[in-house]
């Protein structure tokens, strides 16, 4: 209960204020560079299938039970004062641009259907649809006598979702491993980690939009993520640690940082959904699994990166030092480990991992928005908590479970707009029965 000496030489609020200012200035500066460019570009750098001026689309294909396209059918979307209409094209495709994501009532004008073609039994018309995280929403109308919407074969679907879930889980793991390392070494539950995720995707978009090649944009984005981690620790967290600030106040500071950074990003990036290059790709068949190439790349990249992190933690001096600091900072310091520099490296690594996770998340959703990181922040927390707070391999396993669970719940009948609920609910239930998490023990694992 001994209070820390108040008059310690570390307590220099003025200096702290300066460094916080410097962090903001650097964030703002980075974003300032890219802001005019991002505003100048068209809504989406890739050719968009729709010619509407809106960012968000509701679209679909109309095909009869013989898979032949049905042209010239009128479809209307309504929400509040907004009403948009489209006619299906010769290939049966239709698309309605809408101003904001939200819930719309979609009505297919049955009088415009060709003769002999009817909506299948049980097809709701009009029906209410809601955007879920992405800028495009597809609506399927099935036609024909007694046809029920033919689901994919269950086993096939299960397998596909499983692979997609693994891909999602691994990209979550990129972020949660960083979060877990930071928690392990500093005790901080960092609510600004979601913004570190967002930054990665936003930077790729920005660098690409000012004309840099894609690969360079990727590298610069990862460096940017690392720099953000570096400046966060150097300018904010290290001074706070030296002041002896408690963990709960630090947690609230991280919330303030999250809000500030999120809206700084929105300030420059805007509220719209943008697409990264190569965001749209047809699914490919890989043995029994159909997967989009982006998801496949995401899976491979995150698996390799996580394996590398694991090897570094287990085999290298740096990794051992990190685990020692996570285990007991005072003891680690006493045995000659430079705790501050280990923590700095952890922040930089965490920032880069979060950036990479953000880029992959932008392809997974798909789309870049200013709040994309905060959307998955709780899933990242869920992964970390499920695995056991502060355990790196726990965070990995927890994230994979969360990812797979999120994807699988839709297979087992949970509505798509409730899929995150399942993961969060499972987290609460696990805490009820195994508060230390799946891998959590008294001794930390890595």
């Amino acid at each position: 209960m001994r209070s820390t000496p108040k008059g310690s030489p570390h307590r220099r609020p003025g200096r702290l204020l300066k460094v916080i200012g410097a962090v903001f200035a650097s964030v703002v500066a980075i974003l300032l560079v890219v802001a005019p460019a991002s505003q100048a570009t068209s809504p989406s750098p890739t050719p968009s299938p729709s010619i509407t001026t809106f960012q968000n689309n509701i679209s679909g294909f109309l095909r009869d039970d013989a898979r032949a396209p049905i042209p010239d059918v009128t479809i209307t979307a309504r929400s509040g004062d907004f009403e948009g209409t489209a006619k299906s094209a010769a290939n049966g495709s239709w698309s309605i641009g809408v101003p904001v994501q939200g819930t719309y009532e979609i009505e297919l004008d049955e009088s415009t259907l060709p003769e002999g073609i009817k909506l299948a039994d049980g097809q709701e018309n009009p029906r209410s649809v809601t955007f879920s995280q992405t800028s495009n929403l597809s609506v399927i109308f099935a036609f024909g006598e007694g046809i029920v919407v033919q689901q994919q074969d269950f086993g096939q679907n299960l397998l596909n979702r499983l692979v997609a879930g693994l891909s999602f889980g691994l990209l979550l793991a990129l972020a949660s491993v960083g979060l877990s390392l930071i928690f392990g070494t500093t005790g901080l539950t960092n609510f600004a980690h979601g913004e570190m995720v967002t930054l990665g995707a936003v930077l790729v978009f920005a660098f690409n939009a000012i004309g840099l090649p894609f690969w360079l944009a990727l590298i610069l984005s990862l460096l940017g993520g690392g720099l953000f981690g570096y400046f966060q620790d150097a300018g904010l967290w290290k001074p706070l640690r030296r002041r002896g600030t408690g963990l709960v106040p630090m947690m609230i500071v991280s919330i303030g940082l999250a809000l500030a950074v999120r809206y700084v990003i929105q300030f420059y990036f805007g509220g719209a959904t943008q697409q990264l290059p190569y965001a749209q790709s047809a699914e490919i068949q890989l043995g029994p699994v159909s997967i989009s190439p982006n998801n496949l790349w995401s899976l491979i990249i995150s698996a390799i990166v996580i394996a590398l992190i694991g090897i570094i933690l287990l085999k290298t001096r740096l990794g051992k030092a990190t685990r020692a600091v996570a285990d007991n900072p005072a003891l680690a310091a006493a045995s000659g480990i430079d705790v501050d520099s280990v923590i700095r490296i952890v922040w930089v690594t965490g920032g880069m991992l979060a950036s990479l996770g953000g880029i992959l998340w932008a392809y997974y959703r798909p789309g870049v928005t200013f709040d994309m990181g905060s959307q998955i922040l709780l899933l990242i927390f869920a992964g970390v908590t499920l695995g056991g707070l502060g355990t790196v391999f726990g965070a990995l396993i927890g994230s994979i479970i969360v990812g797979i669970f999120v994807e699988l719940t839709t297979v087992f009948g949970l509505a798509a707009d409730l899929k995150y609920v399942g993961a969060l609910f499972i987290m609460i239930v696990v805490l009820l029965f195994r508060p230390q998490g799946i891998l959590g023990r008294r001794e930390r694992v890595g």
């Binding site: 819930t103 209410s128 609230i252 500030a260 869920a382 969060l424 009820l432």
Partner: protein
Amino acid sequence: MDFGFIFSSAASELFSPTTAAYALAALGLAVHFGYSGLLNFGQAGFMAVGAYGFAISTLTFGVPFFVGLVIAVICSAIFAMLLGIPTLRLRADYLAIVTIAAAEIVRYIVTTNQLTAVTGSANGLAAFEGGFYAMNPFPAGSYMGMNNRDFFIRIVGWGLVIICCTLVWLLMRSPWGRVLKGIREDENAVRSLGKNVYAYKMQALIIGGVLGALAGMIFTLPRGAVQPANYGTELTFFLYTCLLLGGLGTVLGPVIGAMIFWVVLSLTQGILYGLIESGAVTWLNTVQAGQLRYILVGVALMLLMIFRPQGVFGNKKELAFA
């Protein structure tokens, strides 16, 4: 720039029903975090439970106003218990994560299309406030520049704030409040003195949650609509900003904090818009000016926590945490 208008609209925020709602919800957080040390990051969830509990019972079940109110309060108490049972025995950061997750679960559930008939999904619910305004004792007319509806909701909202502040003050000066303050500092010491810490924490969680539910109702009544988008995690963080502005361990702190929060937001908006319209500022558009305010909230939250955690008027010696 019309400073008269800017200041009068800022001043009108002082006693707006929204400010009253924020004050009530922040008072609930003061009971949780300020007095008991419970890190509730899901106050928005409690507000949503209150607002939806009231709206759904009114619209779906057609109950009278006061029955709806009681249902909302009971729902929030049950919500508090559900959250408390798994987490009150665990470390503080677990409660934080579970409450924020539970608040998001509530928001997802009221947003889902599966329950559109009951919750109205993303569009929310409307037209449930009739029972409330039917009780308006003030005949139509102008009351201090407001119509009778606006006046009535302000009277009720701020009346509720005064009643709840008094109740919380009475509780906190009692031995019951003393036990809570003890728990905030060291729950094992309190246990060693023969107090059932778990029961006290649960009671505090419920009381703060019920205050949140009442706040949710006051928030939604003047709008005549409840929409899930209003109950995101950011709402909780704004409430923490209010709480920290006014001071954690005081009864009036959250109220003053909510007033400062809204007046400052209104002032910055008014001045920024004024500057943009007059052409003095060209590097901003009005949308960005709106976003700039949220950046300010975030920065204010950080700076408060770092440099003045006791709040603008708080006493550092009574600060809940070192």
